[in-house]
């Protein structure tokens, strides 16, 4: 039985007078992978950042409309709770450069001042790193700085840091665009693993990636959600011809 975890109704977002996300309606089912595609500048990142209320941190940025996580209005909750429930992974790996690998994984607890007994902390670090398939590679160098890892490892470390907080959803903004093909496929495999416990929303410019990893695909165009359907249907039989043009490469 599919239950909806996130629901947007008539959602709009702007930078000052620049109306960037227009009237978006979407239902995101739990434990699914949703790919978000669309030409550059169409508002994918902006919409994604509205989900966990990162958008409002930019001076002059505004939004309105309905955004519900499990029937609870995200914009009525405290942003800190929202971000604890909806994690985010960025385009460029951004581990905390002053922290060790261990502390990077536990950063959400440590830096928030949540004290945990050592055993529990160790458990969280090992479990999170195992989930992102990084444990074997780094278990002997947990005290080294996170910034010494390769780009792909750093990105998995950032995913581990997000996973460690046990969120319900994880938002990814072009998570593999700064990675080499091998790291990319490792991260893609990871998505399948994570699906069991989390709902993933992934912005990507890579159509093969969207086709490979996602269950449903949303296509944005000039700030509007043009089409949203099963990935198979989107790639074989899209209804809107703007989607069709994009997928066949008529514009990028």
């Amino acid at each position: 039985m599919e239950s909806t975890i996130l629901k947007s109704r008539n959602f709009n977002a702007s930078f000052g007078t620049n109306h960037v996300v227009k009237n978006v309606n979407i239902d995101i089912p739990r434990n699914h992978i949703i790919a978000v595609m669309g030409p550059s500048g169409c508002g994918k990142t902006t919409y994604l950042r509205c989900i966990n209320r990162m958008h409002e941190l930019i001076p002059g940025a505004t939004s309105n409309g309905e955004m519900k996580l499990n029937d609870e209005d995200v914009y009525q909750m405290h942003p800190i709770f929202v971000r604890l429930k909806i994690g985010m992974v960025f385009q460029r790996p951004n581990p905390f450069p002053n922290l060790s690998i261990y502390d990077n994984v536990i950063a959400g607890y440590k830096l928030n001042g949540i004290k945990l007994p050592k055993g529990e902390r160790d458990g969280i670090v090992e479990r999170s790193l195992t989930k992102v398939a990084l444990w074997k590679e780094v278990k002997d160098s947990l005290n080294k700085k996170g910034s010494f890892l390769s780009g792909g490892q750093q990105q998995r470390l950032c995913i581990a840091r997000t996973v460690a907080m046990e969120p319900e959803m994880i938002l990814f903004d072009e998570p593999t665009s700064a990675l080499d093909p091998i790291s990319t496929s490792t991260v893609e495999e990871l998505f399948h693993e994570l699906k069991a416990n989390y709902t993933l929303v992934i912005v990507t410019h890579n159509m093969q990636q969207a086709a490979r990893v996602s269950d449903k695909t949303a296509f944005f165009y000039m700030g509007e959600l043009v089409e949203y359907d099963e990935t198979k249907i989107m790639f074989t039989n899209p209804k809107d011809n703007r989607t069709q043009n994009y997928i066949t490469g008529r514009f990028s």
């Binding site: 941190l57 951004n94 450069p97 002053n98 950063a107 910034s147």
Partner: protein, 290 residues
């Protein structure tokens, strides 16, 4: 092309190059001259006795600068305790709020403060803290005190710390702040646990430079800390400091006092050099690599 012409141009180029070298060397000369002169005059005066004794009265030989050394350290420490937290927080504020009216005024006033002559700052501290005042329910007894000197020096440190903190933090990538915010950290934790620790080397170097800057300040101390021929650790009372000792003793006619002034000058110089080198070392060592 004509060989002679090329030669002429090469000659001109060499001439210009030599001039540049010469002028660059000319910048080092004053420092070398000062170092040479002060070391020559001061090095023979410095020994253990000099460091742990206070000046002897006129007519007795020997004596040291312990009171000035201790006084300088206390005055500077208290100034740092006042200026560092305010400076860092203001710097954080400015780096977070690039625009806005308060940020504009804050930036403008730190810029102006940086250019205010130290003697003017001294006078202001004098009027606030040294002169007695009475506003009905608060009676301020006033009097010269180390604390009033520290306040004057703290005002001089502030703009340096504020601007170096601001510049350091502005250079940190936004992705760092976003990483922390996306983990559900409240703003103050993002600042104190992520942004400031990552920028710590730049902030520290600003603090060190501000200390180096005020170490030799004499003017603001003349009518605040005032000076004291005895060892005092009470910040509510007049206190000696290295620049004050040099100012007072260098102009005296007694050879013993002149010796103290030379020795104190050397100590001051070493202190400032040490701070500068130390700053370079910590900026390199503590710099966080991305």
């Amino acid at each position: 092309m004509d060989g002679k012409y090329v030669k002429y141009r090469l000659g001109k180029s060499y001439g210009f190059q030599s001039l540049v070298y010469l002028l660059a060397f000319a910048c080092i000369v004053p420092l070398l001259a000062i170092l040479f002169y002060i070391i020559r005059a001061g090095i023979t005066k410095i020994n253990w006795h000099f460091l742990v004794n206070i000046p002897k009265p006129v007519g007795e030989s020997g004596g040291g600068i312990a009171n000035a050394l201790v006084g300088s350290i206390i005055i500077i420490l208290v100034a740092a305790v006042i200026a560092v937290p305010i400076g860092i927080l203001a710097g954080v504020y400015l780096s977070e709020h690039r625009k806005g009216r308060l940020a504009y005024w804050c930036r403008l006033s730190t810029d102006i403060l940086q250019g205010v002559p130290s003697i003017v700052i001294g006078i202001v501290a004098y009027f606030w803290l040294v002169r007695p005042w009475d506003i009905g329910f608060i009676h301020h007894r006033g009097g010269f005190s180390a604390l009033s000197g520290s306040v004057a020096l703290a005002i001089m440190m502030l703009p340096i710390i504020v601007r170096s903190t601001e510049e350091t933090l502005k250079l940190l990538p936004d992705s760092l702040r976003e990483a922390a915010l996306a983990l559900g950290m409240p703003f103050h934790r993002v600042m104190f646990k992520v942004i400031i620790p990552v920028g710590i080397s730049g902030i520290l170097s600003g603090i060190m430079l501000s200390v180096a800057r005020i170490t030799g300040e004499t003017a603001p101390l003349l009518f605040t800390a005032f000076g004291n021929p005895y060892l005092s650790v009470n910040i509510g009372k007049p206190m000696q400091s290295l620049p004050l000792l040099i100012f007072n003793y260098a102009t005296s006619p007694y050879q013993d006092w002149l010796n103290l002034a030379w020795g104190a000058s050397l100590i001051l110089l070493v202190w400032v050099l040490f701070l500068n080198i130390f700053t370079k070392v910590i900026t390199r060592k503590w710099k966080v690599q991305f």
